[in-house]
């Protein structure tokens, strides 16, 4: 994995494929759209918040449901019923 990491492009490399506006197959790169339009769309300087809460809102809702389900399973497994108490 370290050997593969040495071949990765630099973070500020403008010529790498993931930083281009047009991807190699001719379509637009979605990350480029997020960086350019995040502030205009939501007036929020933190791009990560805009992506998590707005563009990928349903995914974040799923994460919250996962945590909620973990809590419910915690009740189911850990809380003992009154019959067992006797």
């Amino acid at each position: 994995m370290v050997y593969a990491a040495t071949d990765l492009p630099n973070r500020a490399d403008n010529n790498s494929a993931m930083h281009a506006e047009i991807s190699p197959n001719g379509g637009p790169v979605i990350g480029n759209y997020f960086i350019q339009n995040a502030y205009k769309d939501a007036k929020t300087p933190n791009i990560v918040t805009v992506i998590l809460g707005d563009y990928r809102g349903i995914d974040t809702f799923g994460e919250q449901l996962v945590i909620f389900t973990a809590g419910l399973v915690g009740i189911l497994v850990l809380r003992k019923s009154k019959k067992l108490k006797k």
Partner: protein, 147 residues
């Protein structure tokens, strides 16, 4: 088992630290638009503030900060805040979780409406994460007591 006794020094330290951690958690939630942070991280900090007093002070003193029966309703309310925001966007004529169409009073531009929508869902996530972390801790403690 060893005999347990309460340490007033540990409890005092926990009571001193807990409000600051809670305040920082609220800051992380509400300042998530401008700095690293958000609902999950802030909710974990709020839960840390509550669990600190519960660990230090035992079962009865911990109940003074957040009653155990309230944790499950707060978690449900947190999920409902998020889902209700998405659903009200459908009722306002847009897609699910499309905050741009939400009719907030005094907001004309859809971008600022998205800003407020993001803030609301962050609060919902924070409440749910806090309540559920505390809930899991309470249930683990209870399982020990019945033995």
């Amino acid at each position: 088992m060893n005999k347990r006794f309460q340490s007033p020094i540990v409890l005092l330290g926990a009571r001193f630290l807990s409000p600051y951690i809670f305040m920082f958690g609220l800051y992380v939630i509400f300042h998530g638009h401008y700095s690293p942070g958000g609902g999950f991280q802030g909710g974990a900090l709020l839960a840390a503030a509550i669990l600190l007093v519960r660990v230090a002070g035992g079962e009865k003193i911990g109940q003074l900060q957040l009653i155990e029966k309230l944790t499950t309703p707060i978690g449900v309310i947190g999920v409902i805040i998020y889902f209700g925001t998405g659903l009200s966007a459908i009722l306002a004529g847009g897609n699910f979780l499309d905050y741009g169409v939400l009719p907030f009073p005094g907001v004309v531009e859809p971008a600022w409406s998205r800003y407020i929508g993001l803030l609301i869902i962050e609060v919902g996530i924070g409440a749910a994460v806090m309540a559920i972390l505390v809930m899991i801790y309470d249930n683990m403690i209870k399982g020990e007591d019945y033995d």
